[in-house]
Symmetry: C2
Subunit: 637 residues, 2 copies
């Protein structure tokens, strides 16, 4: 695939570096940012008129993540069994059915969540509220964050694969196209797209319509040509080589269709009629998704569709019924759009979660900052970079990503259900026993699925998640510890600690006598009485010449010259500062190092001036307790 | 070839970035540098005891570049004709013979150069000395620099290919291995290897011995089995499809064997008996190279060796005579070592030339700085990075690089010869007419070869060089212009311009009241009477809280608060500074911006603290005439 050796082929790490650099550059500087990201928005607009939606509009807006998975869930399941041949094809029906059963359990459990947290509460908020120990909620948070990254990677790759199945001209470029999509989604989100925008309802409606139409067309076909057709594989035979392990593997892969169930419970506030609307939406979503999954899987069986890595089953089935005409095109394109929307919704979820966790000091503080357009830009950039990295490493092969994917979801599900279970027992309230049983059972089932995942998919990648989660949690704990220590260290008693005047010695590093030096020494003399000009020469002649010139100039302040036998500025300078620091008669309280710096008009001129000052500054700040002052000189040409 | 999609496969640009970053990091910081590069050497050791060599030791030391080319020159020539079939094989003899003729002309011309510049003078020095206009010498310099880069790429790739021909386990990894070699050579050179080190004589001696032994073995074989053998292709037939263009192309490819002739003339001072030694070395080198080229080409013809991209002709011939035993191994390994030495010698030539050109202000000044070990480290790093880039782009395919290669050499040859020609006419001296005729003829021939190259190889890559040369020259002229302008701008009259005391206003950016703020305000108050603490808040509450806290603290200086509706620090700060700059009643002469900066103990802690201060510093220095002072705070934990 692709032209791996071409000059313009990009390496994964490079891609991420470029995305990050580009995004950061855009966010910090320049006019380009205004064009791409748009004008900044005032903070107070954040709490402004947030559009509330009726439940049947909110449903498609929030459902993209879950409902889009129907396009790849059943296929992911049967792919595991495909090597067993034609006899195994019927098993797509029981596997999908058990997925639907699990979906029902999840939805019921999540409705309990909506009842408990009508202001919206993700797994992290729920577990933080119900578990004392921070690591439990961190399990949920890190599982969800890993999962969000995977959602972007899986949804986008799957969307692009769907397109490539139908438009062969795209085939072989899946990786680049997927990364391109991620970049576009990133920039759309940096501009700021409200999660509750109605616009997102339409593609999901169209896609739902298409899927239901496809299922209807299937039944019509079967009414005319029989429910058992020549291509229909035998039903009910136990294929040779089928093991329980394989079956569980197929089941867990198919469960990837269930990711995204949590979105509605996170977004209760956007419903016009609050939690009732959310519950209605959950029920409707469950019904539609169930029908779609079962109907789709059934027709796949009747038409005996095989797994083909170059043509998704959805594309094959649609082609079977409608040829490759307009209906087919609409199905494929709406699938693509909905999968992209699923990735897009993650660009709201991940940064919000990261900001929440960061505000609890478990992640770098930079994640809590809102960008120009009020979104958590840093979180978005991190998400896009990680997802692009995954896409590159796995070459946009969705199936390779799925084992990594679903385990995180189910771990987070389990923690949230357990939290709710604890809550009912603690808070009680009406029918608390029923609710506790529901969530307890939910926790048991999702926990079981998580274990099944971990076991069956261990060797094919699940171990990565099982390694990553503890590592992420460990790092998060370390981060919090650091923040707390720093805060303790910085805290002062306002009554006793006050700024005081000190004695400062200024050292001006000079390379000759010219306009920059005049400016810098002027500044130093204006700010402190003790100014030392320091000249570091590489040979005796240049030092002697400097001393003579200094005399001729009238010696405006004390000049110290040092010969650097090793042609280094850093070591003699550092030695000189050590001498000042330990100077017996009148050790200064502060040492200020003044460095002149060229600021050229054109950026490439920077290459022409030694960047020694930057180096000295970085080294000094890191290793010495000196104040480094940079006196800029703006070149006129 | 390779595993282009593996996670660990490196992209060319990435490779260069990594090399550069690594080398720069090594050169600037840390203890690793001490281990890899070694202890710094004092400047005075530069002019210390430079070893002088007798001509027959200097010969192999300086000959690696030229003599190593015999391993690929004839092959490069006949490769161009290979598609014409078996009938064309005899042409390797006339083509090689004309190459040898050209070599003789070059050596004669260069001996004139040695006579004219007994202190050593490369093409750049010669043309600078004899042409008024700087662009002429820049043509020579840029052609040579392009050529040095290509020498590294071609020699290393060719060496690795030779090894891979014989040790198939290496095949398929040529690109990585070549880059690895470049990196090793770079670090060896950063440690500092004297060009005149005797050690380099031995591998070249061994290789010369091997080549002569191979030729002897060939004659022995022919004495026993006939000078026309069953495998010998017909002689003298004009193969179908042979055009003048094709012939010239083959000739110019074969001329790639002639690169490196200039090394002796650049290094006259290392000969114990000066220019006489150099002349002796030149003559001996010409004789040995001529014999080797002709003998090697003749046996290739007799044994009817074909071009095989996976097995060099040298390896085939050696295998033919000696099987794959010990003799074969010695030949192959010594070929490899000598080709690596050829690349290695360039790591002295390129940085010296770049430093020379940079000291004439045509290149960034950083190229004139000597590193810890007295070598021009920056030049070495640039060379290694560019050569690695070329190797990656061309996937270590020597033949693909050759069209780019030889044109630069011959352009530089021509300019140098023309310079010598002008010199004889100007300076005269004994036998000046003969010398002028020799160099005039040399210039004519090398110029002709350059034109033949440019025409025959235009489409296969020579155009790149023809585009690069003018671009490099243009940039060089621009660089010089910039340096001259800056020097003019910075020059001051020592009698009239002196430093003066000014009024400074200090602005301390604060984010709260804690230990860092105490330190920073203390420093500001100690250095200037006018201190303003500036607090930029994102909402009214935080600003009010700050103001109250400030009062409670006893308001050590004036506090200004600004509300940033767009959550940006940069814009309100920049606006505030503009207000100070244009403040009617008492505009300050200097504005000092003080920023506190965390210095964590562990590097990764940097990720946990907003790097806003770096951003503000960069932006302010670039856009405003303010002095930015960073007050470090070293975290204890």
């Amino acid at each position: 695939m692709l032209h791996p050796h071409g000059l313009f082929w990009l390496h994964p790490i490079l891609v991420c570096v470029i995305i990050a650099a580009l995004a950061l550059a855009l966010l910090n500087f320049g006019n380009v940012k205004r064009i791409v990201v748009g004008k900044p928005i005032r903070s107070r607009e954040l709490h402004g008129s947030k559009l509330k939606l009726t439940w049947w509009i909110a449903l498609p807006v929030l459902a993209a993540d879950l409902y889009s998975s129907v396009a790849y869930g059943p296929e992911a399941g049967i792919t595991e069994l495909a090597p067993l041949g034609n006899d195994v094809k019927w098993m797509i029906i029981p596997i999908t059915a058990s997925t639907v059963l699990l979906l029902m359990i999840l939805i019921t459990s999540y409705i309990m969540g909506v009842i408990a947290y009508p202001n919206g509460g993700g797994a992290y908020a729920i577990s933080k509220d119900n578990f004392q120990r921070p690591w439990v909620s961190l399990v949920a948070a890190s599982a969800l964050m890993v999962d969000y990254v995977l959602t972007v990677a899986v949804s986008v790759s799957s969307g692009v694969q769907t397109m490539a199945s139908s438009y062969p001209v795209l085939a072989g470029h899946e990786t680049e196209l997927s990364i391109l999509c991620v970049i576009v989604i990133l920039f759309v989100n940096l501009r700021g797209v409200s999660e509750s925008s109605k616009v997102f309802a339409y593609p999901t409606f169209v896609f739902m319509g298409c899927m239901l139409f496809l299922i209807g067309a299937g039944f019509d076909d079967e009414v005319h040509h029989g429910f058992v057709q020549p291509v229909t594989p035998p039903f009910g035979t136990i294929p040779e080589g089928l093991t329980l392990m394989l079956l569980l593997k197929a089941f867990s892969s198919a469960c990837s269709a269930l990711t995204g169930v949590e979105t509605i419970s996170n977004a209760v506030p956007i419903f016009r009629d609050g939690k009732n609307g959310a519950i209605k939406a959950y029920i409707a979503l469950g019904v539609i998704t169930g029908i779609t999954l079962l109907g789709f899987a059934y027709h796949l069986y009747v038409r005996g569709i095989s797994v083909n890595p170059n043509n998704t089953m959805l594309s094959q089935l649609a082609g079977d019924y409608f040829g490759h005409g307009i209906v087919y095109q609409v199905i494929i394109i709406s699938t693509f759009v909905v999968l992209i929307l699923a990735a897009n919704s993650t660009f709201t979820g991940f940064p919000q979660l990261a900001a929440l966790v960061a505000s609890d000091r478990f992640l770098p503080r930079a994640l809590t900052l809102r960008g120009d357009r009020l979104g958590y830009s840093n979180g978005m950039i991190v998400l896009a970079a990680l997802a692009s990295l995954l896409i590159e490493v796995f070459h946009a092969q969705t199936n390779a990503l799925i084992p990594l994917y679903a385990i995180g979801v189910f771990v987070a599900f389990t923690v949230a259900q357990l939290g709710l279970f604890k809550r009912w027992i603690r808070v009680k309230g009406s029918m608390w026993r029923t609710k506790a049983v529901i969530n307890g059972f939910g926790a048991f089932i999702t926990g079981l699925v998580a274990v099944v995942f971990a076991v069956t998919k261990f060797t094919s990648g699940a171990w990565i998640v099982l390694v990553i989660l503890p590592v992420v949690i460990f790092i998060a704990m370390k981060i919090r510890q650091h923040y707390i220590e720093v805060a303790d260290e910085l805290r002062i008693d306002l009554k006793t600690v006050h700024p005081e005047k000190h004695r400062i010695v200024s050292v001006v590093l000079i390379s000759g006598i010219h306009r920059l030096v005049v400016d810098t020494i002027s500044f130093a003399m204006s700010s402190t009485p003790d100014v030392i000009a320091l000249y570091i020469g590489f040979d005796d002649e240049s030092i002697e010449r400097m001393e003579q010139k200094w005399e001729a100039w009238g010696a405006p302040c004390r000049l110290v010259t040092i010969k650097s036998e090793y042609r280094s500025l850093l070591y003699p300078l550092s030695k000189f500062i050590r001498r000042l620091e330990t100077y017996e008669g009148g050790k200064p309280d502060h040492i200020q190092l003044l460095i002149a710096q060229f600021v050229p008009k054109k950026w490439w001129h920077n290459l022409l001036h030694n960047q020694t000052s930057l180096l000295i500054r970085a080294w000094m700040l890191r290793h010495k307790d000196v104040v480094v002052s940079t006196v800029p000189y703006h070149l006129r040409k």
